[in-house]
Amino acid sequence: MVQQSAKTIFDKIWDSHVVTRRDDGESLIYIDRLLLQENSFHAFDKIRRENRRVRNPGQAFAFADHYVPTTDRTRGLDAIKDPEIRNMVELIESDSRAHDIALFGLGDVRQGILHVVGPEQGITQPGLVIAGADSHTSTHGALGAYAFGIGSSEVAHVLAVQGLWRVRPKTMLIDVIDTLPPGTTAKDLILAIIGSIGAGGAVGHVIEYAGPGIRGLSVEERMTVCNMSIEAGARAGLVSPDDKVFDYIKGRPYAPREDDWDKALAYWRALPSDPGAAYDRRVEITAAEVAPMVTWGTSPDQSAPVTGRVPDPTEECDPENRRRMERSLAYMDLRPRQELRSVTINRAFIGSCTNSRIEDLRAAAAVVQGRQARVPAMVVPGSGLIKLQAEEEGLHEIFLAAGFEWREPGCSMCVAINGDSLKPGERCASTSNRNFEGRQGRGGRTHLMSPAMAAAAAVSGHLCDVRDLLAEE
């Protein structure tokens, strides 16, 4: 046999999905799975307008998550008072029905956030190319898939063609050496990574997260890391799959069936990056140095350890960055050098595709147990099945006893388009992924952090170091 040169997992997936190449260097990449959500209505409109056929409905999956109410589920669609919002949920239901696409809709116990339900149902698998109508599709890379978000024109293109034209992206290895110290989580790690490479630091690249700091993470924690790749500018982030991933997938509803399982497993085991494979860029992060992080600004790269202070823009040499910092601090109503732990909050939100899985809810409940929320706080599980699991474990009782709201699954206040939102000026400890101006409601101020940290902030009424609370016990 000819000696193959060393390849990254990304190289292997890419090379096995090239349908054809164009003279200009772009390749038509085969798309194995397509994930849709309510905002895909523009794509279905285009399909209808141009009179196209959906090529493989069985390879597409539709989710009602962005606009669904998180309170009353007993009355289905009728519970949605805003006609524009109801229309969005109706459209994804009718469009998917019209094209014979599997739907995870309102009233289905499996319903939830697309990036939570995909892996949970076994739809997400190593080696697949997954396109999603949402920028956080990078989440699915945690299982060793090449997964990225696309806009509605490209969604229409995938529906009709089952492929997408792409220039081969560059690769970036983020090598996480050491392991995370106690009291820190995957969320702290990814916030530290984004803070270190910047919000545009990985534009044009696919990130591969590797090293002992990643190997040591559970599959769910890896999802938290990959989820926020786009916050560093990378459309996709992935991890070479290992036994943790294979065990995670086994037995899930859409996992390969018995007759295919061994074949699939053999295929998956050949995917991890070869030793000595070349990357366009390499970055090293020392996990042992990561502390519980919070964002202080309006971009996910504006973060600091919670034990620190709000930075002082006058110490920033780059004038453009200084202006950016000043603008963020003005919007966030923070003073330079203010102690982060002195920042009082008005709300707490535990949820979103970054941090709404069972491990996240357990971590938050462990902090909340025996304490009381000092501010209005809500927990929004990522899916109906996670909600059930949490209730089986009694987590909901811990949250309810502490005065937290226990909601129905959906995107909720991550993007604040279903009606759950901050009021102007409100400050929120949030486990979501974007702290953009107005993201959680016009004039709302978002501090991103881990579930344990958000729970700690909720029971303290201000940003605080969860390690201090845990030490009290």
Binding site: N39, Q59, G151
Partner: protein, 206 residues
């Protein structure tokens, strides 16, 4: 898609870096059908204060940029979500060309699909151009895609390098799905072989 060949239009400077799609088109507007006219939502929360009044400190609110067709933006313009509304809203308010040192990846792809030309230039050149436009008596630029040039009203010309395919599609206003379906034989052959190799590909639920 409408073809793009040349455009002479007012250029508007927007210096901030990392302008995200929420700032271009707030998420709460996405649920509105495009027929309501997306132009009213462009940069909505940057453009207007809490009471809905126009902010005087937002560059695009100056009357000299009222009819802008070109935007000179900062690095990583259009980062954030995949929402294509961010492209529709810019198109609906008359923008056909965006110039920046870099763009959010998903956003740039969405622009191409909709005939919005994105031009990447080195950061210093973009800054110079922005500076020049802010003070020029005539803030117009002429963009010639075929010739790959940007020309100021004063006559100074700058070259840019579009992706060849982007250029081809925009010049001819081509529908990308039609172009791709021309490869239906290749797609069919690939799909058959791929499915044979990965028999678990087309999922059947248990």
């Amino acid at each position: 898609m409408e073809p793009f060949q040349t455009l002479t239009a007012v250029a508007a400077p927007l210096g901030q870096s990392n302008i995200n799609t929420d700032q271009i088109f707030p998420a709460r507007m996405i649920k509105k059908p495009r027929t309501v006219g997306y132009a009213q939502f462009t940069f909505h929360d940057l453009r207007r204060d809490d009471r809905g009044e126009l902010r005087s400190d937002f560059s695009l609110n100056q009357t000299r940029y009222d009819k802008a067709g070109v935007l000179i933006a900062g690095i990583n313009f259009g980062c954030g979500s995949s929402r294509e509304g961010a492209v529709y809203t810019l198109l609906d308010s008359g923008f056909r060309v965006l110039i920046a040192p870099s763009f959010g990846d998903i956003f740039a792809a969405n622009c191409l699909k909709n005939g919005l030309l994105t031009i990447v230039l080195p950061e210093a050149k973009v800054a110079d151009l922005r500076e020049a436009i802010s003070t020029a008596p005539d803030p117009r630029l002429t963009i010639d895609l075929e010739a790959e040039t940007i020309t100021r009203a004063s006559g100074e010309t700058l070259a840019f390098l579009p992706e060849p395919f982007q250029k081809h599609c925009l010049l001819n206003g081509l529908n990308e799905i039609d172009l791709s379906l021309a490869f239906h034989k290749e797609i069919g052959a690939f799909e058959a072989a791929h499915r044979a190799r990965l028999p678990w590909l087309a999922p059947r639920q248990r």
